[in-house]
Amino acid sequence: MKVAVLQFPGTNCEYDTVYAFKKLGAITQVIWHKEESLPEDIDLVVVAGGFSYGDYLRSGAIAKFSPIMKAVKEYANNGGKVLGICNGFQVLTEARLLPGALKRNESLHFISRHHNLKVVANDNIFLEKLSVDDVINVPIAHHDGNYFIDAEGLEELYANNQVLLKYTDATGKISNPNGSVDSIAGICNKEKNVFGLMPHPERAMEILLGSDDGVKMLEGFLSA
């Protein structure tokens, strides 16, 4: 499996992402945002976390115009798989590859800690190794993770099983750290080939570092 990991000025999770996919046996390549095309025969593009362009204007707002994003849009529109983690999720919503938007956390604080998540839908390649209602423990680290979508959009997300993950406590009861609509932590597009989540599965790859629940998440992509 070949994974391309995007790097913008200000991205800081690209090498964690490389570590995670290498651990799973994938071949990885970091792609600088000035590139105009993606490598051939890749199986997945990851828009890694960080603070692209310093989060100026809005998180992800400027990155969406980087040259590589044109290729990513084309790749996604042709059914290619794309995963946006944290700032990558923000970039994908700004680029309109995913619905909704990510606002400042309701508390206005930057939140950095482990958080539990409940799997809401697994009829997609990303979470197919997990079961619905599984509770997993993955770090979150964001200032703008407050997912917003209007009522009509939310209804559509549920109707198509696009709500993937919700923030909960260890028992699976809703526990919302940032004010997200319905405590949503991750979604996908209607076609189920573009995925976005605020939590960092690539930081949950080693028990030694608190959790390896990210393995089961990212492993899903290997079965492609």
Binding site: A61, E94, K103, S107, L108
Partner: protein, 80 residues
């Protein structure tokens, strides 16, 4: 010509910063404040006197980049 773009969260989208500022003003005992909204202002100096064209251009800038119309509204004021 100068274009002043005011951007604010749409009605119905919770403005956490506005709420926090409202609480702070309350605790300073300023009375009668019904609501506080926090937005941002972007000022563009544009080398053109063509009112209609500048308005059209700045509108496009707002749609493409300056505002995220999923959550934000914008208005444009032009000054000669």
């Amino acid at each position: 010509m100068t274009a002043i773009v005011n951007i604010s969260l749409k009605n119905g989208v919770l403005d956490s910063q506005g709420k926090a500022v409202h609480h702070a003003l309350d605790s300073l005992h300023f009375e009668g404040i019904k609501d506080v909204r926090v937005g941002k202002q972007i000022i563009l100096k544009i080398d053109s006197d063509d009112h209609d064209k500048v308005r059209a251009d700045v509108t496009q800038m707002c749609e493409d980049l300056l505002a995220n119309t999923v959550i934000e509204d914008y208005d444009i004021e032009l000054i000669k």
